[in-house]
Symmetry: C2
Subunit: 155 residues, 2 copies
């Protein structure tokens, strides 16, 4: 439910990896190797993030990718929006005029309310917060089960 695509998952993994090494730049094969993700997907995802200006790219030999901004200034809202495309639609959201269900459909405005709530929630989380601090205290170790990508408001 309210699931993000695998590519978005990949994107976040890549971004956090970049955020963890701000001094370096990475090319696509390096990132694929270091994250364990399939190269073609990594490449595709990096392109997309660059187009949305979350990443800065450098072409040619010795080219590569780096964060376009400090990780603390990149919000998860921007990341997810960039990768999942601008909007998800059910039919009539962009038919910015009449709608045959108009009279039967008073919920329209309240979707904006939900949109807004989710948007704000994601805006409060920065990429810097997603990249885990390097833990040296063993007692504070977190349980890490694997890569997950569920956004589940399940109770």
């Amino acid at each position: 439910m309210i699931r993000i695509t695998k590519q978005t998952d990949y994107g976040i993994v890549l971004l956090t990896h970049l955020a963890a090494h701000p001094e370096r730049t990475f090319n696509a094969p390096e990132l694929a190797a270091e994250t364990g993700l399939p190269l073609p997907m990594v490449s595709k995802t990096l392109k997309m993030l660059t187009r949305e200006s979350l990443l800065a790219s450098h072409r040619g030999a010795r080219g590569g990718y780096g964060l376009a901004q400090p990780a603390s200034e990149i919000t998860m809202n921007r990341v997810i929006s960039a990768l999942e495309g601008p909007i998800a639609i059910t039919e009539c959201i962009d038919t910015s005029g009449e709608c045959s269900h108009e009279r039967l459909c008073p919920t329209r405005n309240n979707w904006q309310r939900i949109n807004q709530a989710l948007k704000e929630a994601l805006d409060r989380i920065s990429l810097a917060e997603m990249a885990p601090p390097v833990r040296t205290d063993p007692g504070a170790r977190l349980v890490q089960l694997g890569r997950g990508a569920a956004i589940a408001p399940a109770a």
Copy 2:
């Protein structure tokens, strides 16, 4: 992006319709007619909402559906969770043990953070808030373009 399915959209339309007439109960054909939605889908959606105990059903002749609880006590989190299924997974979220990416994947825990943020955002919106109050003041009329179902954190 982070899109809900059409069925969830339908479900919310149906629930708000029910919430707007708490005294009545409706059978599936009535709801389909009054909301303008296709009957088979309406039926399917109502069943699902019943199974998740958001609706109370009554079988047999003169049967029908009604809200299982007051609209103010039903949160959008519950509604969406009920219709979109409990969880959306990318591979290894339920492989509750090892994960081959374990060392490469420090983001796992932070997904919980995002999950939690979205969950809380949706928990703050009740069904009662989605069903628009009957407006008698023309000056306060809202612009209603149609049915929409985008959950877009686009900036």
